[in-house]
């Protein structure tokens, strides 16, 4: 028996998860016994209730909403459509390219491909420059009331509420506070208790922090506002640092030495400056996408740039 590389392997003829998203209608294929509408509705109903119940328990949200699944007999009544109420707060859309790939990574000694992060000051300087260039007048570090803030006391407790209503300091606002800007850094992710710590290597998913936690901050906000969350793109080096390590015929101790050598070398190669430059470019794109949204909704006049 031998260890032998497979050089010619026919690509599997079934899609991976990313590919299946291109044809989402395939997901409509249901096992026969799920096809009975009443059973399916019952499953979905319980599933929704269960999810709501668990979510409510997690956040100790007292506004527990009971969802009544309409039965087949009285489904006609469910056709009554209520007038949509425009919410007070509108969240800026996140740049699709950024949402698909950026803002994710794992740090720490056991991280396999640690990304580079921007300091808050680097990021805020860029955001300020780009927005003022577009014609927005900004105030710095503004405290806003009626925000669902992370509850520091709940860090190690399961019984205490994870958030409390209070004042939270946002990075920038427009003069009238109708536009609120926040840059989501790793520190913010930690503050909002969304880091997924795996041993000594904390993992981050910043778009998830925005979607699942930070937007909730405005649940009880009484004023009209447009809120933009920009996040650190967390650009990763192209190669895993051990990519070129040749370990053939060496023992465990020598491998340790090799790791140190390779680690050092690869980090040097993936010049940090280059990665920061790339991070800034990606953040600039996020800001430009937001400016476009403000201009399209006529919340910001289009300024001519030379």
């Amino acid at each position: 028996m031998k260890i032998r590389k497979v050089t010619n392997y026919k690509a599997p003829n079934y899609p991976n998860l990313t590919q299946i998203l291109e044809t989402p209608e395939i997901m409509n294929k249901l096992p026969k016994r799920w096809q009975s509408p009443s059973k399916w509705m019952m499953i979905m109903g319980i599933s929704t209730l269960l999810t709501r119940y668990l979510a409510a328990e997690e956040t100790t949200d007292s506004n527990f909403e009971v969802i009544v699944v309409p039965s087949e007999e009285n489904s006609e009544t469910s056709e009554k459509i209520e007038e949509p109420v425009e919410p007070n707060v509108q969240f800026a859309k996140i740049l699709p390219e950024a949402l698909a790939k950026d803002g994710r990574g794992t740090f720490g000694c056991v991280a396999m491909n640690p990304p580079t992060f921007l300091s808050e000051s680097e990021a805020l300087e860029l955001i300020y420059t780009e927005l003022t260039k577009a014609g927005l007048k900004l105030k710095e570090d503004v405290k806003i009331d009626n925000i669902e803030c992370p509850n520091e006391d709940a860090r190690w407790s399961r019984s205490k509420p994870k958030t409390i209503v209070g004042k939270y300091s946002f990075d920038y606002t427009s003069n009238d506070k109708s536009i609120i800007i926040e840059f989501v850094s790793l520190k913010d992710a930690k503050n909002w208790k969304m880091s997924n710590t795996m041993s000594s290597a904390p993992s981050y998913n910043l778009p998830k922090v925005v979607d699942e936690q930070m937007k909730k901050a405005f649940d009880n906000y009484p004023e009209k506002a447009t809120v933009a969350f920009f996040f650190d793109p967390l650009v990763k080096p192209k190669r895993r640092w051990w990519g070129g390590a040749n370990t053939k015929g060496i023992d465990d101790n020598e491998v340790e030495e090799l790791i140190n050598k390779e680690f050092g070398k690869k980090r040097e190669q993936n010049s940090k400056k280059e990665l920061i430059k790339k991070s800034k470019e990606k953040l600039r794109q996020q800001v430009a996408y937001f400016v476009k949204q403000l201009q399209e909704s006529e919340k910001l006049a289009i300024t001519e740039t030379k």
Partner: protein, 365 residues
Amino acid sequence: MHITLHLTQKCNLECSYCYRKSRNGEMTFETAIKAIESICKDHDNCGIIFFGGEPLLKKDLIFQIHEWCEKSDISNFHYKITTNGLLLDEQFLKESNRRGIHIAMSLDGIKKANDSHRLKPDQSGSFDEIFPKLQALIKHQPYAPIMMTVSPDTINYFAESVQWLQNQNVNYLVTSMDFSADWNVSHIKSLKKEYEKLAEWHFNNYRNEKKFYFSPFDKRIASHIFSERTNSCQLGVRQISVGSDGTFYPCVQFVGHDAYTIGNIEKGLQNKRQCELFQMNEVTKSECRGCALEHRCHNKCGCLNFQTTGNIQKIPAVLCEYERMIYPIADRLAGKLFKLRDPMFIQRHYNTSFPVLSFLEDLVI
């Protein structure tokens, strides 16, 4: 994060392929709690696995630890026991269900296969005693994982054993090969024939909408579908084993091997050593670099490498032969099912809510 507590090194079976280094040693309640506090304090969710030897020799300790964890604020806990099943009884099963403790049981299939290696201290087979325990377990926990080990001399019973287990209403089967045994090319060829039979059988499971999980195929199919996920065991990071004396190890096979300790209950986790072992395990082996299956196969299972070659970085040739044999069979099976747009295949593998929906289906229908 999972923490495996080796409650005792003693066992009421003497399986021929057992890798336990020591046969003595009992964990105390205090040791278990110190270990849990030390490892779980930084994790929102922590799985406690009661392991041995045979953990059911320490039933009271299991419940004591469970009660402590339920009262504790340091993490959200979930629980699992890995047992040979001999000491399972109605009362324990009911109590486990009440407490939300999941049970996984080892059994090698039909009597001929099981009794080849899973022996009692008098060297007689354990099947006759275990069979009624299997029935009781499945009655109380229908999705209890059954763990089957296949050795070179039981290959010819493999397909028969798997199908027999399904007939006993088992729904979740995890199989492992005893790679530490003496394997040769003809064993792999025989195994291939068994897998081909099983591929046809599993195809029919999907077509008949049976929710049977068969790890050798379903896990490998998932390795393509979730291609961005690492297939590495993340040695010493995802799971930490705690020996009876409170020493920490990166996985169950290392317990008792001093060269692989990563801390203890007094000093906590030695992050540096943990990192070293993790990194050693993650280095791409030169013999695998450029292989089309490099990121899907189990070449980075440091525990398996250690158990078979004595070195976490040295891959056993039998693993390579095995992986090269099984991946095409699993991929062909999945390709065939996808071509037919098989509903059960699509829901199980692409719908991330499938476990919840499946659970609710069992509840409602």
